[in-house]
């Protein structure tokens, strides 16, 4: 079974600075997707960014980018120019052959003004 590990429970970043959230996963599959979801206090689940495993190029969405290391099974999220609205819980997730979204335990990101 696939597992997703987020080992940092909390992180803090100064407004306008850059922060990197870590995620590792375990799988024997070659075709899969990886995601970062944001859950603000409103509890709405918001897809931040996705990465197809077959793509070597790292995904980017405005201030959000990933560092996808397939061999190392690592998938980190970089948030540039952090804003107060980025404060939330962030979940790393995996989707593969069993068609289930498997989530990590999440990390709470706080942004200091």
């Amino acid at each position: 079974a696939q597992t997703v590990t987020q080992s940092q429970p909390e992180m803090s970043v100064q407004e306008a600075e850059t922060v990197t959230l870590s995620c590792t996963y375990d799988t024997s599959e070659s075709d899969y997707y990886l995601f970062w979801y944001k859950q603000p206090p409103s509890r709405q689940m918001i897809l931040v960014i996705r990465q197809e495993a077959y793509k070597q190029q790292n995904a980017t969405e405005n201030r959000f980018s990933v560092n996808f290391q397939k061999a190392a099974k690592s998938f980190s999220l970089k948030i540039s120019d952090s804003q107060l609205g980025d404060a939330a819980m962030y979940f790393c997730a995996y989707w593969g052959a069993n068609s289930k979204l498997t989530f990590g335990k999440g990390i709470t990101l706080s942004v200091r003004p």
């Binding site: 599959e29 075709d31 899969y32 997707y33 859950q39 409103s42 509890r43 709405q44 689940m45 897809l47 996705r50 197809e52 819980m89 979940f91 989707w95 593969g96 052959a97 069993n98 068609s99 289930k100 979204l101 498997t102 989530f103 335990k105 999440g106």
Partner: protein
């Protein structure tokens, strides 16, 4: 217009009661899901339906029974509620993908916070 809606948003009830949470999507998706987010914020899939047919059934107590009257609705009925059922329950929908190869984004509802006293 809300894409995936859930009712109610909050539900407080006594142990032993039976309750239902309703979910509706207006996206025309064929696949719907129920997720449970526990008190430690851990999010896990419970069920998945595709065109009213049960596709995924995780290790969930029999007290939980999903019902899909049509492909736009997936309701969750919980019998004999226990303290441990207190959680946030999320409904989601998507078009079906191809296992591991084609993923179609899942759109989540706002969640229903269930508190069992």
């Amino acid at each position: 217009d809300t894409a995936v809606s859930q009712t109610p948003k909050y539900l407080v009830t006594q142990m032993g009661n039976d309750k239902s949470i309703k979910c509706e999507q207006n996206l025309g998706h064929d696949t719907m899901y129920w997720y449970k987010q526990d008190s430690k914020k851990f999010l896990k899939i419970m069920f998945s339906y595709n065109n009213k047919e049960l596709i995924i059934n995780e290790t969930v107590p029999n007290r939980f029974s999903p019902k899909s009257p049509d492909k736009a609705h997936l309701n969750l009925h919980i019998n004999s509620l226990e303290l441990g059922d207190s959680a946030v329950y999320f409904c989601a929908s998507s078009q079906p993908g191809i296992r591991g190869v084609i993923y179609n984004e899942q759109f989540f509802g706002p969640g229903t916070r269930l508190t069992v006293l």
